[in-house]
Symmetry: C2
Subunit: 126 residues, 2 copies
């Protein structure tokens, strides 16, 4: 696993990971990975993150079924950011039931919601 | 500037910012912004980051000419990641002279360079 040594982990042992949808090119979310999460992502072919709030591995989709099938793992010039190209199961990446997490856009001097809720979160997390 | 209050700054007062190229949808880079950088980005319409290594504002393109014209600023569900839709001047976002910073891809158990150098950095930073 020499490739893992090329990652510049931060002082908490984490690296930011951006998930981009294959095909559409849309950004689905940004989350964090520790070494184990990134290794598991590469080995399993499904995105595994590190939940900073719950302080544990977060196998994306384990509750919602909205897994992310990983098509590519890319690393930036400084080695301190990871980009995943993924196929988003269910077409919903965000826990709010939207396609992706970046559903607020600055218009004038306020953030405005620009994406619809596709599925009610209470239906996703039963 | 009430909209700035919706950002969940980290314990260093920073938020990660992803720059995505308008049109192509390609991810150009990920960098960091403090409050002033984000405010200046919104006001000027050009991406301004916070350089963690140099500990100062980084007006993207000030040396290279490779400015990023900002078309949209989006915020994620947790308010702790920013997505910029930008037009990349010169078609080069990376300081290595490549189109974008995510030019290494995991293939097998090694990162392989997948993007060409468009312009030699010594020609960019004179």
């Amino acid at each position: 696993m020499n490739w893992l040594k090329e990652i510049q982990w931060d002082d908490q042992g984490l690296v930011p990971a951006i998930a981009q949808e294959s095909g559409s090119g849309k950004i689905l979310m940004m989350a964090w990975m520790n070494r184990e999460a990134l290794q598991l992502t590469a080995e399993s072919g499904h995105a595994v993150y590190w939940s900073r709030s719950r302080r544990k591995l977060w196998r994306k989709g384990e509750e919602s079924g909205h897994q992310q099938l990983v098509k590519a793992i890319r690393l930036d010039c400084d080695g301190d950011a990871v980009l995943l190209e993924v196929e988003q199961k269910g077409g919903i990446a965000c826990h709010t039931g939207r396609h992706n997490c970046f559903y607020r856009e600055l218009q004038g001097d306020a953030f405005v919601e620009i994406l619809p809720v596709i599925k009610d979160p209470s239906e996703i997390y039963k």
